[in-house]
Symmetry: C2
Subunit: 226 residues, 2 copies
DNA sequence: GCGATGCTTCGGCTATCATCGAACTATGAA
DNA sequence: TTCATAGTTCGATGATAGCCGAAGCATCGC
């Protein structure tokens, strides 16, 4: 059963550490989970046979990453249930509000700001939502090229859609995923508009003052409240 | 942790039994999971404090149901991951293809036919998708009143939207949930168009010959393949 | 009242599984 | 070659938690 894999605290910690989409080595994951390398090795092999993570050998290191965004989606869903149940066990630090405002979901922006961005993009007709998929409009392609210096043609990927709606557990609405979502988040980091919280294992994203302003200029700071 | 609750086989069986949206008594759930009532009682109280199920007392019976469609959604997601991993442990009966074609998700229709129905409703402009929510159009209200004898005004519910998109793990696309989704499925059963598989714990939905024809007439049988 | 049924609580048994120490393999560096 | 680091496998230990028998409350029917 997949759920029992996620059920163990040590494994859950490792998976949470991988939620930001990076690939981490076995010993880094062991450290994150607070267990010895031997124990971690056992857990990692279980997660691998369960299809939740996949390894990549590089020299004498073994990097592990989540097998796909859908895994991250289910993990977010579980976190949402825990949240809803007032399941306030440990781990409820003071960073909770920050986590709701902006955080990494696999490799793209989630939380209040993530939802706001996708809303604004729809309102500005930069994207068009057909069925469950999202499509970039011509105007949208121009927009990301000019405002964010992202070439829409570079976003094609064999195993992943360019745009995708990902359900946000804290906002219960969609934010932007897919290669575009990842590229936008990446751009924000490069432009020094935002940065991942340096605390190990944290998924919080901190915006700089200028980043906050630019973001508001592009995607509406205060007007779009609903 | 919520995942550890779902991780235990006995509890997973009980939750699976509740996925069709019915409320079952404690002893029925114990039987489904193949355990004694004492053990089941322990499990049920854990699931309750975990916020996954909620009880309703009725005479000397205690009926349990899932606390909401979002719980069913996460369970579907987990099932999807298990499916994707080729996680073919036990329980992979011959009813697999039938399960992909039509099954109960919480209380509404899922699977191939469920996705096809929502697609067709969008194409016929019976519903309008704004953001993550779905709305019934005026034409849609006329349609369900005439074709299915469902009064749109009767669908209001304090804790639940009328229409909602629910992600389908086998099709990876949305099907119709919410009170309308439940009402439609209910109507199909009443009209003898479809029936839940009699096998205990099964989520398969079997369509009758006439049901299949009527469904195709309303929601497109072969034309809408993509 | 009495018995029967549905469900829960308590206590003890047992098995599973996470954990770590120690030893082994493999890659990289000197 | 020799040493160091990254990772794995093996074996033993220990704690958690599922499980059931027995007993205790409720509710229903007579």
């Amino acid at each position: 059963m997949v759920a029992s894999l996620v059920g163990d605290p040590a494994r859950a910690n490792m998976l949470t550490a991988l939620m930001d989409g990076r690939a981490l080595t076995a010993s880094e994951l062991a450290h994150q989970a607070g267990i010895t390398p031997q124990t971690a090795s056992s857990h990692l092999s279980k997660l691998e046979t369960g299809g939740l993570i996949e390894p990549e050998k590089q020299g004498r290191h073994r990097y592990y990453r989540l097998t796909g965004p859908d895994v991250a989606g289910v993990l977010e869903g579980l976190a949402g249930l825990a949240e809803r149940a007032g399941h306030t066990r440990v781990r409820t630090g003071p960073k909770e509000p920050a986590l709701r405002r902006a955080r990494i979901c696999y490799d793209h922006l989630a939380g209040d700001l993530g939802v706001q961005m996708l809303d604004s993009m729809r309102k500005q007709k930069l994207v068009r939502q057909t069925k469950q998929a999202i499509e970039l409009t011509g105007e949208g392609k121009r927009f990301i090229a000019e405002a964010l210096q992202i070439d829409a043609d570079m976003l094609a990927h064999p195993r992943r859609p360019v745009c995708k709606a990902c359900l946000d557990w804290s906002e219960r609405r969609h934010h932007l995923a897919g290669t575009l979502g990842a590229a936008v988040m990446n751009r924000f980091t490069e432009l020094n508009w935002a940065a991942r919280d340096p605390a190990p294992g944290s998924r919080v994203v901190n915006f700089t003052r200028t980043g906050e302003k630019r973001f508001a200029a592009l995607f509406g700071g205060s007007e779009a409240h609903s």
